[in-house]
Structure formats: C-alpha cells, structure tokens
C-alpha cells in the first residue's frame, strides 16, 4: 500500500515496472500492450488473438459491430472479467511492462490504477459526495477529502452544477450528470488509465457532446480507452482506432481485431476492405 500515497500516477506506475524485463522506454511509450489475447466465456471464445498497443495520453477507440468482443477486450484491461465466473483470459496484457494476469498481481490494485466508466451511469445509491469519496477512502487516502471531491468534480466538468447539493442523492441528477459523476468518481482514485465502455450510449446528443469535450480535456492527464458504437464519436475524439469484427471463418461468433492505427488514417485510407465497408456504412 506504500505506493498509494504518491500523487503522480506515472511515479506509482513506474514502481511495479522496475521488476519487469521490458525495456524502460518501451514501457513508457506504451501504457498497455496486449499480445495474443484470447478471451473465453466457458466454451465460447469471445475474442481471438488480439495485439494492441495503447499509448499514454491518447484516446484509443475500440469500434466494431455488436458482439465483436470490443467490450470484452476493454474489460481485460482492468480485470473486470474476473467478476464473471466462467470468463477466462489467455495471452498477455502488460501495463507499463507488468503482465496484469501475472500470478502475483492483485486485481484490486490494478483497478485503482485503471479506472472504469460504464455504459449505463451507475452511481452508488448515496450522496454525490460519498460517490466520489468512496474510492479514495477505501484506498486509504490521507489528504483533505473535501478538496479531492471538489477537484474531481471540477475535472469532470460537474462542479458548478452540483457544488450546492453535494449531500443530495446522486439519483437526483440527470443521466448526463450521473455519467459525469461516474467519471469524477473514477478520477478520484487518481488512476493512470480510464476505460470507458460506451459511456454515451444512454445519453442524449447534448450530454454526449459534453462527455466528448470532457474526454479531450482529460487526455492531458490520463490515457483513455473508449468502446463506442458510434463511428462519428470515434472519429471526433480518438487519436487511434481499433476496428474489431466477428470472424466469419470461425465456428463461433468470435471477435478479431481487423485494423488498428491512427484515427485520421483509418477513416480516410483504411488498409482493410472490411474496415472500409464498416466505416462507410456498408455493414454492421
């Protein structure tokens, strides 16, 4: 628990990285490196052979049709799939050079560094204040909690709307505000990476726009990976895009990574026919 107190996520992240065999410069460029990732739910293979490198302080979008495994891949990054009993992961997901699925890795510690925002806003049935204070509290945060709550809400562009009702139930907020509260909650534990699983799919266009602006703000401090159904959204906010699809040649509906590259290039000159078909709306 000694590393928790450090305010700088990069410094914290570097501590576990020292023991890894990976070259330090590579571990710095790539916050997360996925190699040969296979994910299963029981006998069903959801994702096959994914290789993906996530760079720091960028927004990486995972796009693709329904059931292509993009959410599964996202949930491998903070071991959220551990909650599903039949889920199994093969291959390696290295975070600053440390394999997240290594034998001694504590999933709870992983999730404190790699925060998550879910598809449907899911605030705790508590006050706005307690929603944000919970994560830092259980992590043993020693500083001034009021300041941390304020700071997190400011970063999530929610402070001015809720500063006079911090003790009120989070359920009193609108959907878009609840989602920004969830972002503030994820930020409060000062993570290094933010995972967002279709964060705008339950929101109206104006709330969506606010979240997108917020993401662009946040990438200065965080590495963001977003799953989205919305190609325009990926094009608007992301620096790099990974396109997944269902592999038609397999027996099961297994998802595979088709193409991964800079968003600008992907949307103008995709190298794969499947990518072009998807982004031009010919399928999916």
């Amino acid at each position: 628990m000694d590393v928790i107190d450090s305010a700088d996520p990069a410094a914290r992240a570097a501590t576990p990285g020292e023991s890894a065999a990976t070259a330090p410069d590579e571990a710095e460029t790539f916050v997360l490196r996925v190699e040969g990732l296979n994910a299963f739910y029981g006998d069903f293979q959801a994702v096959a052979e994914v290789d993906l490198d996530i760079r720091g302080n960028e927004i990486t979008a995972l796009i693709g049709p329904s059931g292509c495994g993009k959410s599964t891949v996202l949930r491998c990054f903070n071991r959220m799939n551990d909650l599903i009993e039949v889920a199994r992961v093969e291959g390696s997901v290295r975070y600053h050079g440390v394999d997240l699925y290594g034998p001694n890795v504590d999933a709870v510690e992983v999730r404190r560094r790699i925060g998550m925002v879910f598809q449907k806003p899911n605030p705790f049935p508590k006050s706005i204040y307690d929603n944000i204070a919970f994560g830092p509290k259980i992590a043993g945060y020693q500083g001034n909690m009021d300041d941390l709550v304020e700071e997190s809400l400011i970063k999530a562009a929610l402070w001015t709307e809720v500063n006079d009702k911090l003790r009120e139930s989070a359920f009193a907020l609108s959907g878009g505000q609840q989602q920004r509260l969830c972002i503030a909650r994820a930020i409060a534990t000062s993570p290094d990476v933010l995972l967002m699983d279709e964060p705008c799919s339950a929101l109206d266009p104006i709330a969506t726009l606010r979240i997108e602006e917020l993401m662009t703000e946040l990438k200065r401090d965080y590495t963001i990976i977003i799953v989205t159904h919305n190609m325009q959204q990926a094009a608007r906010v992301s620096d790099r895009t990974a396109f997944f699809t269902v592999d038609a040649e397999r027996e099961q509906r297994t998802g595979v990574l088709v193409e991964f590259g800079e968003t600008a290039t992907m949307f103008t000159r995709p190298t794969q026919q499947k990518t072009e078909d998807y982004i031009t709306g010919r399928f999916g």
Binding site: V108, F124, P125, G135
Partner: protein
C-alpha cells in the same frame, strides 16, 4: 375533400366506439373478486369469533390480564409470563439466527461459485424451509436440550428452557432467513457491484458498503417477519418441554435461575388454555390470549414496514 374527411371521421368513430360486451372477461373478473372475498370472509369470521370471545375477559380484567402471570384460577390468570417467555425466546432466535442466516446468504450470493454443490445446498435450504415444525422439535429435544445442559445453562430444568427453545426455533427459521436475505441481496443490481469493484474495492468492501446497505431493507423486512413466525410457533416448543401448566419461580431467584428455569410461550398458553377442563379458560381466556398474540405480531409486522420505509429513504 371536406366531405371525405367527415366520412372518414364517422367511420373511424363507429369502429372505435363500437363496444362489444366481453362476457367471458367480466365473468372471470367477478369470479376472481368472489374468491378474494370468500377468503377474506373466512378471516373476518375467525377474527370476529376470537374477538367476541375475548371481549368478556378484557371487559372484566382490562389490562390486568396482560400483566398477570399464570394461574390455576381463571379469575386471576394472565399472559405476562407467556409474553416474557415468548420475547426471551424470540431474542435468542434473533441473536442466533440473524448472523448465521445473513452470513450464509451473503456467502451463497456473493462468494459461492455457481456449481453443482452450491445448487445442491441452495435446493436443500429451500426444502428445509418446508419441513414441518414438529420435526425441528424432535431435533431440538435430541440435540439442543442436551447441548444447553452440557454447557451449563441447564438449570433446574435440565436444559428444557428458553435457550434450547430459542436454538430450536432459530434452526427452524434459519432457512427462511437465508432465502429472504439471499433474495434481497440478489435484487441489488449488478451495476452497483461493478461500480464498486471498478473504483478498486475488494469484494468484501463492495458487500459491506454497497450490497448490504442496498439489500438491508429487504433483509430487515424478511427477518422481522421470520421472527414473527418464530413468535407464533407452538408444536416444537411442546416437544422440547415448554411448561403448559402453572409454574412459579421462587421470589428470590436470580436472573440466571429464572432464565434457565421453566418457561412458557404465548401460543403454548393458547393451546393449553383451550383444552382446559375449567370452562372459562377455553371460552374467554384463550381468545383473549390470541388477541394479545395477534396484537404483538401486528406490531412486529408494522415495525418491519416502518423500518423498511425509513431505511429506503436514507439513500
């Protein structure tokens, strides 16, 4: 095309407003209402019979009936001994069954892997909830009466006291507590667990800070209703040696001696009075005791509802 519009409106109105008499539906609706009323009628008749039987007692004795102890004389007999006994037994049940039951429910819902063994345990808990209460009485006599005596709480009754009674009824209501608590825990949306885990909470922290508070109203309601069930149980107590007649403790008896001495319970008193040879016991005292029993259960249920409502608002 103005006339055309008018015609269309007329045609549509005719089609929409043409009422057909739905005979089958009406018969069904009234039939259901009749069934509901007949079941209510049985209840009303029962209550009316009991209350009319109890009125002479309360008119003659007033609150004195509630504060007097057991007696062989119907003029002075009251239910205070029985109320104290019932409350003491229920307290033992609560202390034993709550932690075990809620703990078991948490394990089953939050920790147990979903495999054949867990499903086997789950099914059997449900089966246990349906076992006749007299069977638990036999279990209590064979195990808990001796156990209480062995650990030194037997007193002059050799273990046939409120401790063995409480343990027996605790085992009786345990399956119900587990089932209702497990259902309340299962009703907590998974998104709350994901949110907790997502900010770096351990499974225990998620349970402690999010799942249990959200499930508490349901657990509380279920367990209070379960206690009411224990409060009204008669058969197992008779098997494990509850006093059905008059008994008295020495005036200088210590608390421990009283607690480990002979005891009785409200439903047992109802049972024993209703079969007394002295007419007044069965005719007016037993109904009066039933009224007291029903009143306590009513208060318990109302308390459960109030607790639940209050808890739900603190979000």
């Amino acid at each position: 095309m103005a006339t055309g519009t008018v015609d269309t409106t007329t045609v549509v109105r005719k089609a929409l407003e043409g009422k057909r008499l739905n005979v089958g539906g009406l018969v069904f609706e009234w039939g259901m209402l009749l069934l509901l009323l007949s079941s209510l009628l049985v209840l009303v008749v029962l209550l009316g019979d009991i209350v009319s039987g109890a009125i002479p007692t309360f008119r003659a004795r007033g609150f004195d009936f509630v504060t007097s102890g057991l007696s062989l004389n119907p003029e002075t007999a009251g239910v205070s001994t029985a109320i104290v006994g019932s409350i003491a037994i229920t307290a033992v049940v609560a202390v034993v069954a709550f932690p075990i039951g809620i703990g078991a429910a948490i394990y089953l819902e939050e920790y147990a892997p979903d495999n054949r063994w867990t499903r086997f345990v789950d099914t059997n808990i449900r089966n246990l909830a349906g076992v006749p209460s007299i069977v638990y009485g036999l279990l209590g006599l064979a195990i808990f009466v001796r156990l209480v005596d062995v650990v030194g709480l037997g007193g002059q009754t050799g273990g046939k006291n409120i401790f063995s009674a409480g343990l027996t009824l605790a085992v009786l209501v345990l399956p119900i507590i587990i089932i209702t608590s497990a259902e309340a825990i299962r009703a907590v949306p998974n998104s709350i667990r994901e949110a907790g885990v997502g900010v770096g909470a351990t499974p225990w922290e998620v349970v402690r800070h999010h799942v249990l508070p959200s499930a508490a109203p349901g657990i509380l309601t279920g367990t209070v209703l379960t206690l009411a069930r224990a409060f009204g149980e008669t058969a197992p107590l008779i098997v494990i040696g509850v006093a059905t007649g008059f008994f008295g403790a020495a005036a200088d008896a210590t608390v421990l001696e009283r607690a480990t001495g002979p005891y009785t319970a409200l439903p047992v008193v109802v049972f024993s009075w209703s079969r007394q040879s002295v007419g007044a016991f069965g005719d007016t005292l037993a109904p009066a005791a039933i009224v007291v029993l029903l009143f306590v259960l009513f208060v318990a249920n109302a308390g459960a509802i109030i607790l639940r409502n209050r808890y739900e608002k603190t979000w």
